[in-house]
Amino acid sequence: MIRKIINVICLSFLMLAAASTSYAEHEVRGFGKIPDLPGGWQHLFNEMLIDITVIGVIFAGITIYFLIRYRRRYAGQEGRPPRLSIAAAIGWALIPAFIFMADDLYLAAEGWTLFNDYRTVPENAYEVKLEGQMWSWNFKYPEGVETVNELRVPAGTPVLVRMTSRDVIHSFFLPDFKVKEDLMPGRVTYLWFYPKEPGEHLITCAEFCGVLHSSMRGTIIALPKDEFNKWIEDEKRALAEEEAKGGA
């Protein structure tokens, strides 16, 4: 019996070891390379989907087999379950526990790597400030330009958004980029995303913020770099003219 228990424990540690090596073998990401967040997200999501489908099919399959195989044949029939020895009882608790734990740690390790990418801002990121309010997104560019509900960014440059809120909690959600982070009064949070190509993307609010919560939306417009530079120069000039007028 003791030997059985030892076997069980050894097997479990082997599985833990398998989980940790798979973490070590995870591809080393090159320095200076911009991680692909939506791609990485989709990859991990698919991996996790396979994982839970396999577990689900095993559990459901066994259940369905039992449900069909062990139907009552005659009135008054009772089950004839095997009696578990102490070793078997402990084994039936420890082996599944260690299998689940190994799977948890494997997924946690994968998730950890991706989460680090999410929270490590690439060095050359373009930084925009965002202040949320009921019910609009107010952006402020490093050049001093301000826009509402429309964020124009240069394509091919990672964008860092530093966020806070004027009134209640909002949540800056970009479905296309698979990112989301809350905006809160009295706190500053951040997220980053990478618009590779020129194009338009949806901004939408994911934290309940009152009557117009579902209409709190905006657009991210990724422009080709020279077009973006021209736009920001124009805006800067317009801003300067306005200030000159206001000062005069």
Binding site: F59, Y70, F115, P175
Partner: protein, 530 residues
Amino acid sequence: MAHKVGYGQTLKEWIFTIDHKRIGILYLIGSLAAFAVAGLMAILIRIELGSIGPTITNPQTYNTWLYFHGAAMILAFQIPALTGFLANYLIPLMIGAKDMAFPRLNALSLWLFWAGIVVALLTFVIPDSPDIMWTGYPPYSLRSGGNTAFYVFTVHLMGFSSIVGGINLITTVIYMRAPGLTWGKLNIFVWSTLGAFILQLIFIPVLAAAVTMLLFDKYIGTHFFDPSAGGDVLLYQNLFWFYSHPAVYVILLPTMGIIYEIVATFSKNRVFNYKMVVYGGIGGVVLLSGEVWIHHLFTSGMPDWIRLGMMVSTLMISIPVGLLMIGLIGTLYKAAIQYTTPMLYAVGFIFLFLIGGLTGIPNAMTAIDLAIHDTHFIVGHFHYVMAVSTTFAIFGSIYYLFPKMTGKMYNETLGKSGFIISFIGVNVTFFTMMIVGIKGMPRRYFDYQQFPQLEGLHFIVTIGAFIIGLGALINLIAWIHGLAAGKKADDNPWSSRSIEWMTTTPPPPGNFHPIPELSEDWHPYGYGNS
């Protein structure tokens, strides 16, 4: 026998009852009423979301519906049905006791619950009804014109009711067990309910503190959650989820417990690996339940290190829950399964809970959660794992206990058709909802003009909601039909070995005359030994 002195059928004797069975049934009536109103809200919400643009209402009213649906389903339906109705009705019977340890305290907890229901329903008649969702996050709940006080008082009443009930029940199980009923022979339902009440006693005070601080902030002028005066908006979220995540285990544990009872009874089989289920499953859930609340704050700007730590501890919850599932499925091995309505609900539970539990894994993973947090994916997931699974367990248990409670049998055809329609309805509704969520649709939206591509899927979800409504209606008809025209039930129609079936049907005041004698080799799941 059933009509002894002091056990008549007048209204007065029902209202002022201190009999645990009647208190249990009154809990059931209150919670089913809450279920009906909150379910109606759900149908209205789904009609509104069936197509783009305002359909039947305005955002303000819609938000009140959302608030009421969530708050009532959790606080007034699920928790009272499980820890009020089932625990009150079943546990003294299951442990061979005459009544609860403190019968008058039991009546007090019932009346606190009913007061809570009344306060909750007043929401609809006051001019400034709350629209703060069941979570009540500040600063919105502080700024909203809605009456936050009603929300706070409902939580206080329901919470106090649970604490009083919990003390009563724990005392009962410790001191009132029938002679010979050792801890190793307790029903799984008794163990799991004990676990749930231990969680209630530990965590409810935290919720009460959080909502009281909210009340003070709004009406007295303190600044716990106001950053401009030194407060912190995240403090509330931490306190709130410190209770409200364990609350899902308060719901899960008795749910699992009653499913074990139903499965063991209709499989005529021993519970597989009893000690693993009690120590590993129930004990594990109780131990881990307080270590996971940050997963509700994965996108709220908590420090990165704690998001990672709580990802690991959240994933670890799969271990005790997995053991509970193995015990449940193992109980079917070499069994003699009889497909009655309660058994169908229990089998349905296994599949719904499997989908719900496994779709919890992506939410637990911090990086994946960054995209699906606060979307319809979450709504679909938690409806599978707690709303629908638990409701199936509650409905199944009503059918299971129907003969004991009423002395009559329900109609199997009605019961089974109610189950089949509900099962189809919930899968159509909530599986589609998860797909909608992955495509980016946030929750608590009145409208979704920015997601025109999702209108078709939303329409399917709405159709599913109507199917669920039809299923619920058939169940209601089955119960009324059983009460009015059911055949007379035997004392032990399911041939169970458990103590609650050893008394007459319906049980007399004082439950057992005399208290059952338990032989040395008796076990509540002692099937297949003869």
